[in-house]
Symmetry: C3
């Protein structure tokens, strides 16, 4: 049974619940772009799918960048003059500026203030801030709390380590009939933020579980990596895999209650762009297709001009457009089991398009074949035809060896599964032949692949 049909037979509430529980399990861990929080996160994913973990040492050159020092943190607080912890890393890991250098000092409020980060517009939320490439220390706290601080002496303490170590990332490769790859990439470096990006981690892991052990057209590579530097490190270290990427998705922020957003790849008309737009259009939810821009998530790296990979980004609410973004309000209440389940369903539907988007050839191209005598048509004239028959007529009409099933779905306005089912029935009835799939290494008339390849050199 197809991936999608199998998924549709399950209870969405149960799927959503499992996804949310996995996000909740990962929520307390203090992740960063390196360090043990990231390792613990990958270990939890490894309990579900057999991740391969890579460790790249500090100082390794990766294109224009260098793998940074590894950061680990044990504790951090601000104590007031009475010795009371008024800001405490143990209560919320957002309180310490991510990548803070260690500090232990007493200082007046005026000296402390340049190290405090707040959000005046949302005075009860803690911001999420980082300082990866400029050594600094700091605390993030509610604006109201900062306003209430007296001009007194405070004890600040951050028990962190910023030392030579490693950058860690996880990969899970699901082999298919072809070595051509579909990339699914998530960043795994944000601490206690639920939508950004525990939602992505949970959905990607569940999609990986769904694909495991299946007979697949493509091979699938799931990446769980720190944002930016992780993608750069992976791209710099995996030339051969990069060359095999035919389609890709960055998954992030797909757990909130908002409608879908798909940001197109730099190419703008890649098959993944069309597949995602088609699936979202038929998803029954609000959705919007956004043009590529060079700001965002790791599609920035995958779509840099030297690679120009066909990789888009699937989101619900778009980063930076909702106030909870990068604050303590992006918590486990902000993501919804139902939204997570529907996001997984959308990913599966996109995979379903990629897996089945083939070209067929109508074996009776002159006039319509007589569907009636094959029991593929209504036998009494004068009644309206339904989606099923309509899909068959569309597939027959456009299956000239040039149009793919996605082409036909787009032109007909019918959902891809209806078109794919029609092609299946027609093929079973001897009315269609399949055009050899170069992606899967099937022999075509001239034996050469027509899949456009992007070159990648590091």
């Amino acid at each position: 049974m197809s991936l999608l049909k199998e998924l549709d037979q399950k209870d969405p509430a149960e799927i959503g619940g499992k996804l949310h529980r996995f996000a909740a399990e990962l929520y307390p861990i203090c992740r960063s772009i390196t360090g043990d929080g990231l390792r613990q996160t990958l270990a939890r994913i490894q309990e579900r799918v057999p991740l391969q973990i890579s460790e790249v040492p500090t100082g390794a050159p990766v294109f224009d960048w260098t793998v940074p020092k590894e950061w680990n943190i044990r504790d951090g607080f601000i104590k007031d003059a009475s010795g009371k912890k008024i800001v405490d890393f143990q209560r919320c890991n957002l309180h310490v500026l991510n990548y803070s250098t260690p500090v232990r000092a007493k200082m007046r409020l005026s000296e402390l203030k340049p190290h405090l980060f707040t959000i005046p517009e949302y005075p009860d939320w803690i911001p999420y801030r980082t300082s990866y490439y400029k050594e600094d220390w700091g605390f993030c706290l509610c604006h109201n709390q900062m306003l209430a601080l007296k001009d007194a002496e405070y004890e600040v303490f951050i028990d962190s380590a910023l030392e030579d170590g490693h950058l860690t990332y996880g990969e899970y490769y699901v082999p298919g009939r072809s070595t051509d790859e579909v990339l699914i990439s998530c960043h795994a470096c944000h601490p206690s933020l639920a939508n950004d990006n525990l939602s992505g981690l949970a959905v990607a892991t569940a999609l990986a579980e769904l694909l495991s052990g299946r007979d697949l057209r493509y091979s699938y590579r799931f990446l769980f990596i720190p944002g930016t530097i992780g993608a750069i490190t992976w791209l710099a270290s995996n030339h051969d895999a990069v060359e095999r990427i035919r389609h890709g998705l960055v998954l992030t922020g797909i757990g909130d209650a908002g409608g879908f957003h798909y940001k197109k790849s730099r190419r703008g008309d890649a098959e993944i762009d069309r597949a995602a737009a088609h699936v979202l259009h038929h998803s029954g939810e609000d959705s919007e297709i956004m043009e590529f821009s060079p700001y965002g998530y790791d599609e920035r790296q995958y779509c840099s001009p030297g690679f120009n990979l066909p990789v888009g980004c699937l989101m619900r609410s778009v980063w930076g457009t909702f106030p909870e973004y990068h604050t303590s309000a992006d918590n486990l209440d902000f993501i919804q089991p139902q939204s997570l389940a529907r996001s997984l369903r959308a990913c599966a539907a996109i995979v379903d398009v990629l897996e089945n988007n083939r070209r067929y050839r109508n074996l009776n191209p002159y006039c319509e074949p007589q569907l009636g005598r094959r029991n593929l048509y209504r036998s009494t004239g004068g009644e309206a035809i339904g989606v099923e028959i309509n899909a068959r007529l569309w597939v027959l009409n456009l299956s000239d060896g040039e149009h793919s099933l996605l082409d036909i779905a787009e032109r007909s306005g019918l959902p891809f599964p209806a078109i794919n089912d029609a092609a299946g029935v027609l093929r079973l009835n001897g009315l269609l032949s399949v055009v050899p799939d170069r992606a899967a290494g099937e022999a075509g008339p001239n034996g050469a692949s027509q899949v456009a390849r992007s070159s990648s050199k590091g």
Copy 2:
């Protein structure tokens, strides 16, 4: 004088009246996809234009299909227990399921009911139903009448014959300077239904009369055929003619009071598609251009992928979207003389575009020629120019040998006749030369035709 100008000098009310009277003359005949009703219909058309009639025997293979048995009917009724004819073929030929096998029996209502067809939503109308490819018998009647039937015994009688015979179709070929052909196709298989498709038969016959004996660029082939199987049979039997089709129109449902609809060919950008869209846009009536779909009339066959002919479909109200469709309410009141006359005018205007859509070359391509000294411009500056002058400027500006007059009409927003008139005046004044017309076999610079040819193999 041009076809269109000649038509515009006639009284539209008179033209409409003639068209309606011809539809009325054909209305009582019980047509089907074979049989004597079809032959009688073709004979009536033959009184106006010299149709060539073809008879193809039952059992002849035509692509994936086989020519069916011939159906003829003499009578049919249902009598109640008192012997009264309560459903009578002589009163309305829709009452008998088209292609009914013969039956003579007495039966209770419960046994009869599966053979009765009604329209619950329009309880006073008789539906039109067929069963060409599944042998069956039945009656069509008003829903209210069926509801009133008592649980009693009824006598059913259908005096029909379904036997080996022939499928009949008519063709009228109007020769032009070129053997390249324009196809005008109508289905002639529906019994007493006025809009679908007596309107098409009447307009096509009148268009054929208009074209007869003219000096034409293209040759025109008018087909009067049974729907689906007739088109398939003709396509299977006329390879050479099929190869010569350059443009084509299916005419159907063009007599009602609704606005125009033109359904594009599968190609979507064929010259016929552009000509029809242009003419309807300037028709002064509401009109809508519809994308191709593989469901509809005989364009389904002409646009099957092996042929992919540039054939669109001109309609007023679209089949299936108005309740009268395929019911007794599609009667002679449903079609309007004025609508029929305007439909004929639209067909003539489309033909006018096809006949005159040539490319010209401005013989003074550097700067504008001085129109004033040729009396082709206003002599006193400062006033707005009219359509006539504007059309001349457009033709001069775009006549670089690449743009056709239809290109110029589209880009300028001016109606094709204004552009064509401008080209005529400019050519008379020595300002334009005509680019040789390969369609008409005129010698071009390299002697080769640039008209794209679709291949057709049976």
Copy 3:
């Protein structure tokens, strides 16, 4: 400093005042397509930029036309029976039909009337009328005045000369690094009409002053010519210069209070068309982009099919759409200093695009370069990026040697100067190399120019 930045440092009110004063200086002169009024106008422009003046003799053949006789006028009036001048050329030079032949006669009103031109819809305005190519005489006056004329005898007098002479035009050539040219063309033949086209003359002269003495990529050619016949004469006489035109603008009617209108070149997608549309979109004023049409100003000649030059037309209110057009109401009050200044700014911004629209190559095409360590990025994560950083990311992402800066500006939605500044900063930091500029004769990989050349033969 760039042309545009230098302009933006000046006081717009001062610029506008100067432009308006120059228009006012030229306003009283009675210009026509030949004659001393045109020569005086060119002499005033020559006081600002070193115009080269050409004189082409009457009778010279220019393509399909012939240089007309030269027209000069000293005086003209209508006197009533009492000897009072009721229409007087000395009061307004629009009163005499432009190109009137001399006349001295007494006649009754009925005889005079065919020689009187008025505007019934605007009975207090004097129309502007010409009769260049049909010898005639006449007077233009207010409709109300004409209505009040009694049926009496009048003395008419026009002291003009229509004799063999010359057609005069002015050219100013500003050399750049490349001999490829940008054409700026204005008609200088209208008498006391302010918007049409003293606004164009004033702005073009100011733009010429701005460009003088600069280090420029392109060479610039400013034409001050009589409309139609002047453009035809110049095109017929300057084959070599015509072949070097890469971009061009006709400037006319750019002083009124209306929003901008840019009429595209016949090509429709020329770089000038895209540059003008981009600049106007970001101008902060209402603007509209109009498709090319073969009616209008001298773009008619530049865009005739034999030349098909990439020349558009920049206007504010469009000729013929405002009632003041070609009337005495197109006076110095109808043009605004602020509008003139903003029009000059728009021209400079278009020139800025043309001068800087180059292609660059990202020298770190695999993943993003690390902007942070070059101080080109924000150092603390989590905050929105501004236009400056965004422009850098766009330039890096699309600088693959294929996309020009204008391509990038269009795709990003950012204004060209922001994109150009970003390219400058990135190049200074060693992150971009420039693709050799064939326009400026820089050596490219294969030494050949890729700039499309239009051929010009007279």
